[in-house]
Amino acid sequence: MATSTPPAPRTAPGPAATASRPAAPRRRRWSVGSVALYTVATLAALLWFVPLLWAFATSVKTEGDTTVMPPTWLTENPTFEAYQLVLGRGDILRWTVNSLITTVIVTVLTLILCVLAAYGFSRFDFRGRPGLFALVVGGILIPPQTLIVPQFVLMTQLGLVDTYWGVALPQVVAPVFVFILKRFFDAIPRDYEDAARLDGAGPLRVLWSVILPLSRPILTAVGIFTFIGAWNNFLWPFIVTNDPEMMTLPVGLGTAVGQYGIQYAQVMASAVLGAIPLLVVFLLFQKHIVTGVAGAGIKG
């Protein structure tokens, strides 16, 4: 990272000079402007953490302490009792496993289907290609939320209600990723493939050993966003699961609130537990996620 220059060099020399005299003899590094800027930035960031911190602060209280007014941030007798109770019921773990299984199915299938389709549209000329591609691109405009009723009827007919496949399959259709990947593949020069072709590589081989290695950033971005989207999807899993055993984490947490009633420490403990998996994913892949969004935006 470029940390060489302070953001606002010498905008307000007066007060900055007095401030820096006793502290640092080297150079004026902190003008009033940049002190204000950094203060505001830090405060905004801390403000953004308040909801999560408050959830955690509540979750380590005893149920009695959660209802004390005015609310306090630090409890005198912190306890993990709420976590023990919530985890002891076992359903959060069950939902997490369900979420993991369905999300992995969605992510893997989405990547395979979209990569194959994008490669087909990008590299081959076949009858009906423009029409089919237009059909796929048009699908981007259809809001999947408006299809829940016929999709649910279809799932009933297929016998997939309350199954992992029922949760996963309708989420696999992501025309926008076909579009994004095709644009990326289009930009890869064909010369790279010619060498492989001369060595006798077939189309699948070319895809696997030439195109995919060159597409790693976009594949990572598509994979991560599919993963986050599927993990956090609420409406469809909510529709297609009735059995608490088959619910995903967001759906299970949504339906469980009623059971806990007004036991806020336990509600917040569940929220914290529900937040952890993707926060960990985010911390691990922060760089990829940030560049992934950036790439999507710059291409527009």
Partner: protein
């Protein structure tokens, strides 16, 4: 070369028959005319089954009195459509959706811009700021609604507790028709602004540094550089973010449903929830389908209009 490959695929569709001979002729350029179709087919199969088919079937349902509870289905013509189009509750939910959109789009564009400007200038805090502003985006919606529901709690929540310290009696937040929508919008902004924020940040960081240096040499202060250089160069990004946010906001359902169930007194019921209520609570699949179609057409029209406007600005 291309003529050779085109020629052997005449109009009767003898797929397998033609694949072999031209393969000998021109394997390298284009393996066969049909290879591409095989790559596209798996996606198209899923697409047809889970998106196109439901879309077609749903249109059919809208002309019947089909019920989720089963039973005989009969054709009822345009009854569902006229019921949808004359139902005051449908217009109320459309209005609620629109009101949410009108409140959330400017907020989530301007907030993202402000946070990105802060981050772009306070470079030393870059990692920390990105973490705190974007992290909420990865939270499941239920986690967000549980936490905000608790903070909004009128008698025991954080907000009214803090206000109470100053002797102010806080509002009812989610429990009053006057404040429920605003409360949902604020929570949504906290949760989802991170995506717009990252788009802005990426755009800012792709502005060449020498533009700023030149301006600084000419004596432009920080505010001037923001106003005269950064903001104009972000016009395109702003248009993109506004379009994406508008389409996203029109589709709102989950967080509102989880925080207020559409209440109080249906003041926050969105169209998607009304479709859900009609189909899965009221069990009237036919009616829910005609509602879904009306809404789908509106959303598609809005999307196309936006993209038109956006691409005209480009040209």
């Amino acid at each position: 070369m291309t003529q050779n490959t085109r020629a052997p695929a005449p109009r009767p569709a003898p797929g397998p028959a033609t694949t072999a001979p031209p393969g000998l002729v021109d394997v390298r350029r284009r393996p066969t005319d049909w290879t591409g179709l095989w790559f596209v087919l798996p996606f198209l199969a899923f697409y047809a089954l889970f998106l196109l088919w439901p879309a077609v079937v749903g249109f059919g349902y809208s002309f019947t009195d089909r019920s989720l509870a089963g039973g005989d289905v009969s054709f009822v013509g345009l009854d569902n459509w006229s019921e949808t189009l004359t139902d005051p509750a449908m217009y109320d939910s459309l209005w609620n959706t629109l009101w949410f959109t009108v409140l959330s789009v400017p907020l989530m564009v301007l907030l993202a811009l402000g946070l990105a400007l802060l981050t772009d200038h306070a470079r030393r805090l870059g990692w920390f700021l990105r973490l705190s502003f974007f992290a909420p985006f990865v939270l499941p919606v239920t986690v967000m609604t549980l936490i905000w529901g608790w903070m909004y709690n009128p008698s025991l929540g954080l907000f009214n507790g803090m206000l109470g310290r100053f002797g102010i009696e806080g509002p009812e937040w989610l429990f009053s028709e006057d404040t429920a929508m605003f409360s949902v919008v604020i929570a949504t902004a906290w949760w989802q602004v991170g995506f717009n924020y990252l788009l802005y940040l990426a755009a800012m960081q792709s502005i060449p540094k020498d533009v700023y240096e030149a301006a600084a040499i000419d004596g432009a202060g920080a505010w001037q550089r923001n106003g005269r250089i950064t903001l104009p160069l972000l016009a395109r990004t702003t248009a993109l973010i506004a379009v994406l946010q508008l389409i996203g906001s029109l589709r709102v359902f989950e967080q509102i449903y989880l925080m207020t169930s559409g209440g109080p007194n249906f003041a926050t019921r969105t169209v998607i929830q009304y479709i859900y209520d009609s189909g899965f609570v009221g069990l009237r699949i036919g009616l829910a389908s005609s509602m879904a179609y009306v809404f789908m057409v509106l959303i598609i029209a809005a999307s196309i209009a936006q993209f038109r406007l956006f691409s005209r600005k480009e040209g």
